[in-house]
């Protein structure tokens, strides 16, 4: 019972690698090949460490916790310290919980325009949804889909661009290892370590 998801994931991984290799040979864009590999993975978990720099603060803020993803559209970010917090996005619904304060907020993603670009960038990549990514961002890819790569996303909408100027994803194969985002004078760096 416990082994089955792992088996499936391995099978999916090798399939994805095959698919990526074939697409690359066919002259397909490397970003499409990369996202194809992402699409094959239905579930994943990772640990994260985050560092935020804000112009109003004289030192960065650090936090850590776990991330989990389940296709097609469920993303969860659990911050363990220094505050306890759960951010869950499923479909169009965003839930923010701070159990210590007894706070639970449920919002439509439309009602959280500041969070939307980051959420869409990570989610569309994990889902391997290239059209969704292209709908929201201009894409710049560098590196090798099977090895190290970076994907720079620039929001297309001027409104979003005022809040978030750039999101940079970096990784190796079908795994995101880092997310950096530039928001006004602030800068956020997320380091991700996939769970084994």
């Amino acid at each position: 019972m416990l082994r089955r998801p792992i088996l499936r994931r391995r099978a999916a991984l090798s399939l994805a690698a095959l698919a990526a290799a074939r697409l690359a040979r066919a002259g397909e864009e490397p970003v499409a090949a990369l996202l194809g590999a992402f699409a094959a993975i239905r579930e994943r978990r990772a640990a994260f460490a985050e560092e935020k720099e804000l112009p109003e603060l004289d030192r960065p803020l650090r936090s850590h916790g776990t991330l989990s993803w389940r296709a097609p559209d469920r993303l969860e970010k659990r911050t363990a310290a220094p505050i306890e917090e759960v951010l869950r996005i499923e479909g169009e619904t965003l839930t923010l919980e701070r159990p210590q304060q007894g706070v639970r907020q449920v919002l439509g993603l439309d009602q959280a325009p500041e969070l939307r670009p980051l959420v869409e960038a990570i989610r569309a990549t994990l889902a391997g949804d290239l059209p969704a990514l292209r709908r929201h961002f201009a894409l710049a890819f560098a590196g090798d889909p099977a090895e190290g790569w970076t994907l720079v996303l620039t929001p297309l909408s001027p409104r979003v661009l005022a809040a978030v100027q750039r999101v940079t994803l970096s990784g190796r194969g079908a795994a995101i290892l880092g997310v950096e985002s530039q928001q006004g004078g602030g800068f956020t760096r997320l380091r991700i370590e996939p769970a084994r």
Partner: protein
């Protein structure tokens, strides 16, 4: 050929001309007098300030502009897409003050307005918030939250408003909505048995009274749904007072149209079968048209307008005037001229028509406007039809016309003639009915105002379900503060809010909504301004509070500037607030509104009241001059009871009038009572049958009882008239009564199948009663053995 046809038609020309004339007069009258469809005409009138407020809210309050919608019959993501498309289309139409489906958000301009006035509007603003310890606590909390996922939002707002006044203000806007959000829109939670259901609520810009605008709003909703390309199987459910006004009016009209068409067809078929003469149809149509003309003219002259339901239903009621020409034709002895028959039966016919009109007293005296119109319509129409039957019909028909009715089938005739020998059984049946009614403690009484509404039961059930799912239940208690100015009304509502806040805190009350949550009175806003420290003091306190925290010195410059600016801002007025954006205007408009007669009214709406006694006590201790507390249920029950009591009184007066008329016409109270006995029996049987069917007895049933007594008056009168006569004469009378009863059943019996409660109540009561009264009249007629030969 043409000459032959013209020649054959010529004898009927007077009749046809009379019909054409009456038809044209009727059409002209209806075009001249306005036909209204305001369904609240069928509600009882107010008796107190509280019930006046209640009825005004029912008639024209903010709640009447509400449209509730559910979308179901497709997978959740598809429903969400439809809900979003519907929301966008409705918002873009400009016909709605507010459209909520979970995806709506305060516009940027609205957010900016609230943000600029946050230190005047937010209930979080107190002097303590701007002291050093208060600031220190807020800065520490801000730092902690900046670690979390909401930091992009906080980076935008947190430094300009570290005390969180704006977020506190926004919470008041989102707190009210407890509807589950999925796929970014509202969904019913838990889903109903029919599957997932997305929910949407809309408030029309037009007032609830404007039925045409309400109908258009509902049509717009349906069109927007169709334009969103719903997949096969997806359904749109619509409810709310606006939808009711529009769709109930349409349902009543459809009911009446269907019944009218069906009963006309059945009636025509029946008459053709029995009389084998097309002429008979014309003969029946003339008194009916004349009655409608007289009734409509009387209502238009008395009330100025005619209610659509009163007109449609009144015409159905006047269908019983078929009796008069049928009696004329069937009572004619072989070889007798029609004019002679008319003269011979006139005393009895006159008495029957007058008694029927007297039976409508209860309706005419009713203070329910729609019923009074209906009563007047029929009370004038019935005698008018009788007069036309007596004086006009014999002249309009070609001389020597003989319309022969088929004789009653022999077995039926034998059974009817034998009925008087079964009078023991008749009395036993009546006794059983009386005992049954006694045993169950009288008929089941209807005390719910909603049951009197012309809205079909199924529509009301859907409404209740959608309201529950949207967390917008019917208001149980309504608290209103009336004052000469908006400011005074706002201040009053604030005092009520403050008095009830402890109840919310200890759970006696689930929540409280009032204008002050969104727009405080100018006095409160000035108090908040007074709580703001001057720039130098605030800067010093902030520096002290931030000691040891990683904030740069200039981090809160915008906060300092905004507080300084807030100290001199002019307080926000209701006009400023409503002008800032549609969502702000809609929220305030539902809670604070000017009155048409001058002055302002602010509403305080408690939700989920668990301890009504505590609420009463808290409000009683508050001295508030313009305060009005309406407990909706007891108040509506009192209204219904008052209207019922008045109808009962009307019934008493009506009965006395009918008996007086009979005693005068028959020269003796004993004979009057004997004649009225079958009708009293019919009423008793109708009551017992209604109870047996589980029908709750309402105002409408009550007035129908008298109606049936009046309508059936001709049966015992004509049967008693023939009691001493030879058997052919008795059979002729029996035949007349059978034909009259069947035509009445063909009109009223069909009403019992209507979905509209009013029509159904009257139809059922009259159909059962009239059948009972006819059978009893045949059974209780004095037996021939005792009558002189």
């Amino acid at each position: 050929m043409r000459r032959l046809l013209a020649g054959r038609l010529r004898p009927f020309l007077p009749l046809l001309a009379a019909l054409a004339l009456l038809g044209a007069a009727n059409a002209a009258l209806l075009r001249g007098a306005g036909v209204t469809t305001d369904m609240t005409d069928f509600l009882p009138p107010p008796r107190s300030a509280a019930s006046a407020l209640l009825l005004r809210e029912l008639r024209a309050g903010a709640a009447t502009t509400l449209l509730l919608a559910g979308i179901e019959g497709a997978p959740a993501p598809e429903l969400a897409r439809l809900s979003r498309a519907l929301g966008e289309a409705l918002r873009a139409s400009g016909r709605f003050a507010f459209v909520g489906n979970g995806s709506e958000a305060l516009s940027e301009a609205e957010q900016e307005f609230l943000f600029r006035h946050r230190y005047l509007l937010s209930p979080a603003v107190t002097p303590a918030l701007f002291e050093t310890p208060g600031l220190r606590a807020r800065l520490a909390a801000l730092l902690a939250e900046l670690h979390g996922a909401a930091s992009p939002l906080l980076a935008r707002l947190g430094f300009a408003d570290p005390v969180g006044a704006f977020l506190d203000l926004l919470r008041a806007w989102t707190a009210g909505s407890a509807v589950a959000l999925r796929e970014g829109v509202w969904f019913a939670e838990p889903p109903p048995a029919t599957g997932e259901r997305a929910l949407l609520i809309a408030r029309t810009a037009a007032p609830g009274l404007d039925t045409a605008a309400q109908r258009e709003a509902v049509a717009l909703l349906r069109a927007a749904f169709a334009a969103a390309r719903p997949p096969p199987g997806a359904r749109l459910l619509v409810s709310g007072p606006g939808a009711f006004a529009a769709e109930a009016a349409a349902a009543i009209r459809a009911d009446l149209d269907r019944i009218a068409t069906l009963s006309s067809a059945l009636l025509a078929a029946f008459l053709l079968w029995r009389f084998r003469s097309l002429l008979m149809l014309l003969v029946v149509a003339v008194p009916l048209s004349a009655g409608v003309l007289a009734g409509a003219a009387a209502v238009a002259a008395t009330f100025g307008t005619i209610h659509g339901a009163a007109l449609g239903f009144g015409m159905t009621m006047l269908g019983v005037t078929d009796d008069y020409p049928i009696l004329l034709v069937t009572q004619r002895r072989p070889g007798e001229a029609l004019a002679a028959t008319a003269r011979r039966i006139w005393p009895t016919l006159r008495l029957a028509a007058l008694a029927a009109a007297a039976g409508l007293t209860a309706m005419i005296l009713s203070d329910v406007r729609g019923l009074a119109q209906l009563g007047l319509f029929a009370a004038v129409g019935l005698p008018a039809s009788a007069l036309v039957t007596r004086f006009a019909l014999p002249r309009l028909l070609p001389p020597g016309t003989a319309i022969a009715v088929r004789p009653l089938p022999a077995p039926l005739a034998r059974a009817l003639l034998a009925l008087p020998r079964r009078r023991g059984a008749a009395w036993a049946l009546l006794a059983a009915a009386a005992l049954y009614l006694l045993a169950i403690g009288g008929p089941l009484r209807e005390r719910d105002l909603a049951a009197l509404s012309p809205v079909p039961e199924a529509q009301r059930a859907l409404d209740a379900e959608l309201r529950r799912q949207l967390g917008a239940p019917e208001v149980g208690v309504l608290i209103a503060v009336t004052a000469p100015s908006a400011e005074a009304a706002l201040q009053g509502a604030e005092r009520v809010g403050a008095a009830l806040a402890p109840l919310v805190a200890r759970g006696a009350l689930g929540g409280l909504d009032f204008a002050g949550r969104y727009l405080p009175s100018a006095r409160t806003q000035r108090e908040r301004q007074a709580a703001l420290p001057d720039a130098a003091t605030l800067r010093a306190r902030l520096a002290e509070a931030a000691a040891g925290l990683p904030f740069r010195p200039a981090a809160f410059d915008r906060f300092l500037a905004d507080v300084a600016a807030s100290r001199t801002l002019a307080p926000v007025t209701p006009a400023d607030f409503a002008g800032a954006g549609p969502l702000l205007a809609a929220r305030l408009g539902a809670l604070l509104a000017p009155l048409p007669e001058g002055g302002w009214r602010a509403l305080v709406v408690p939700s989920d009241l668990r301890d009504a006694e505590a609420l009463r006590a808290a409000l009683a201790s508050l001295y508030e001059p313009g305060l009005l507390v309406v407990e909706v249920r007891p108040e509506t029950q009192a209204l219904v009871e008052a209207a019922t009591a008045r109808a009962l009184l009307g019934c008493g007066v009506g009965t006395a009038l009918v008996l007086g008329l009979l005693a005068f016409g028959l020269r003796g109270l004993g004979r009057a009572l004997l004649t009225a006995a079958p009708l009293a029996g019919g009423v008793l049987l109708a009551l017992a049958a209604l109870a047996l069917l589980g029908e709750r007895f309402s105002l409408f049933h009550l007035v129908s009882l008298l109606l049936l007594a009046g309508v059936g008056m001709d049966y015992p009168l004509f049967l008693a008239r023939s009691a001493g006569e030879p058997v052919e004469e008795r059979l002729r009378a029996l035949g007349s009564v059978v034909h009259c009863t069947l035509t009445t059943l063909l009109t009223f019996g069909l009403l019992a199948f209507c979905a509209t409660p009013v029509l159904r109540a009257i139809g059922l009561t009259v159909a059962i009663g009239i059948a009972g009264a006819a059978a009893l009249a045949a059974a209780l007629v004095p037996p021939p053995s005792r009558a002189p030969a």
